[in-house]
């Protein structure tokens, strides 16, 4: 049967038979890199048009509808515009850091792609601590934001960056704890293991209340971590004009923009993997016919379907809620989310030990 893992295996076999192992590795790396960049570009375009359409429909508008069929090429045109725009660096800025910051944001987003299982047995890097790797690397993101805010030499940028620092560092905690709840159930940090453990049911169904609580907390925390509304204080438009990227224009701004969407995609992919079974199809008990029909759908479709559902939920948040204030944001984390997720992880541990989950 046709699948991503088959193609990957065939390419690997052909390369191994043609080149020596070192060259094979190098060529495979290049192919992976090109694929990631391609995926990046494609996902960026899709997510931007998706965001614009979702917001338009929620706001009783039509949204982009001029470029291409139903306006689907709008984001392509926007990208083209951003590419040919002059990339300005303000006079008083720290030029090196100012230009470096968007690339760090981009590199972090790229690194995060490594452990994600896009389809059955299809992964860039089967890391045995995949989940830990994601939460570790994603916290580097804050450095690029701080760098951008500091080097812009703009008070708005600086305030945005400082807010962002406080925000990401605190929400990392509850995101980590809610991930941990699933890790406790599974007993593994490896992404393929976690997915395989959900063959008989996704964790959000199997894990009862702790999994549901963990899922909700995870959604809130990752929304905050990716700096999206209602937690977009780093770029709070009505307060700080555009926050840390006030001074950025052209392609450098586009990189920040793209990195934000990539981060959204990655956290949603992680959420889908942990709670919704990754590429695992939806199965119900012993309904053989139904389960077979579900198996027929390719695993990559399952993965992207779930991920895009979560992305939609996060967009839905954004276009519904007003923004929090900085002290309320931190109160929410330290007074509500963190105690609840700590309590939740105890509950999850208890359930895992007693074997109460299915």
């Amino acid at each position: 049967m046709w699948s991503f893992s088959n193609i990957a295996d065939q390419i690997h076999e052909w390369l191994s038979s043609t080149f020596n192992p070192t060259w094979t590795l190098i060529i495979e790396m290049v192919i992976a890199g090109v694929c990631v960049i391609g995926l990046f570009a494609a996902l960026g375009l899709v997510l931007v048009i998706m965001e614009r359409k979702v917001s338009a429909w929620i706001q009783i508008r039509l949204g982009p509808n001029r470029v291409g069929p139903k306006g689907m090429f709008q984001s392509l045109a926007d990208t083209l515009k951003l590419l040919v725009k002059e990339g300005m660096t303000p006079n008083g800025a720290d030029k090196f850091l100012f230009n470096l910051a968007p690339f760090i944001a981009m590199i972090v987003a790229m690194l995060l792609f490594a452990p994600i299982a896009f389809a059955r047995d299809f992964q860039l890097w089967d890391l045995n601590i995949g989940v830990l790797y994601v939460s570790a690397v994603s916290s580097i993101m804050v450095i690029s934001i701080l760098m951008a805010g500091w080097s812009s030499n703009n008070k708005y940028s600086l305030m945005g960056a400082m807010r962002s620092g406080a925000q990401i560092v605190s929400y990392e905690l509850s995101a980590g704890l809610s991930i941990l709840a699933i890790v406790v159930f599974t007993g593994s940090l490896s992404v393929p293991d976690i997915v395989r453990s959900q063959a008989d049911g996704w964790w959000i169904f199997k894990g009862h209340i702790p999994a549901i609580i963990a899922f909700i907390i995870f959604l809130i925390a990752v929304t905050a971590e990716t700096n999206r509304a209602p937690f977009d204080l780093a770029e709070a438009e009505s307060e700080l004009t555009a926050g840390f990227h006030t001074e950025y224009s052209g392609m450098k701004f586009a990189l920040f923009f793209l990195a934000e969407y990539m981060n959204v995609f990655i956290v949603c992919a992680i959420g889908a993997t942990l709670f919704l079974g990754g590429w695992m199809p939806f199965h119900i008990g012993n309904w053989e016919g139904f389960n077979h029909a579900m198996d027929w759908i390719p695993s990559s479709v399952w993965f992207f379907g779930k991920t895009f559902f979560l992305i939609f939920v996060i967009m839905w948040f954004r276009w519904t809620f007003p923004r929090l204030r900085i002290d309320q944001l931190l109160n929410l984390e330290w007074k509500y989310l963190l105690p609840i997720s700590m309590f939740n992880i105890l509950l999850a541990t208890l359930m895992a030990i007693m074997g109460w989950h299915f």
């Binding site: 979702v54 508008r61 039509l62 519904t320």
Partner: protein
């Protein structure tokens, strides 16, 4: 009790947020609620109310005749000096000299569409048109002469 209040707070918050999300989901799925008007596309079907104040025009009949007597009421009524009446001397059929308008100059760029000139006009010579796309590349194009070239005053209008 503290814990009860704490839990109640959380549930109240979640409930209020989910009500809002339900409302936005409704609009996300009900596309018939969309109110966008696609402006240049619907130009043919766009109907403006007959009272809409777009610009001042002077209607002429099929014989190229207007109703303006040149009484300057509009010029006096205008707060911005938008209208200037320029006179000439016409000869009546009996050979007498008669004062008539040569040009009624209208500066659209100064006009605020306040309708005071139309109210002031005693002979209904000018009215508001429903055009609204006034942008031009050169400001001088906005200075218009309202009466057609060679037009004269309608019979019986004093």
């Amino acid at each position: 009790m503290f814990i009860v209040k704490y839990i109640k707070d959380i549930f109240g918050a979640v409930k209020s947020l989910s009500i809002g999300m339900k409302r936005t989901l409704y609009y996300f799925t009900h596309h018939k609620e969309i109110i966008t008007q696609q402006y240049p596309d619907n130009k043919d079907t766009l109907v403006l109310p007959e009272r809409f104040k777009g610009e001042v025009v002077m209607p002429h009949n099929e014989n190229n005749e207007h109703r303006c007597t040149g009484c300057q009421a509009c010029e006096l009524a205008c707060p911005n000096g938008t209208i200037k009446v320029i006179f000439k001397n016409d000869l009546t059929p009996e050979g007498k000299k008669k004062k008539a308008i040569d040009k009624l100059v209208y500066h659209l760029e100064l006009c605020t569409m306040c309708n005071l000139c139309i109210e002031a006009c005693p002979s209904d010579a000018i009215k508001m048109a429903q055009t609204f796309e006034h942008s031009v590349y050169d400001r001088s194009q906005l200075t218009k002469v309202l009466n057609n070239p060679g037009s004269k005053i309608m019979e019986g209008v004093e």
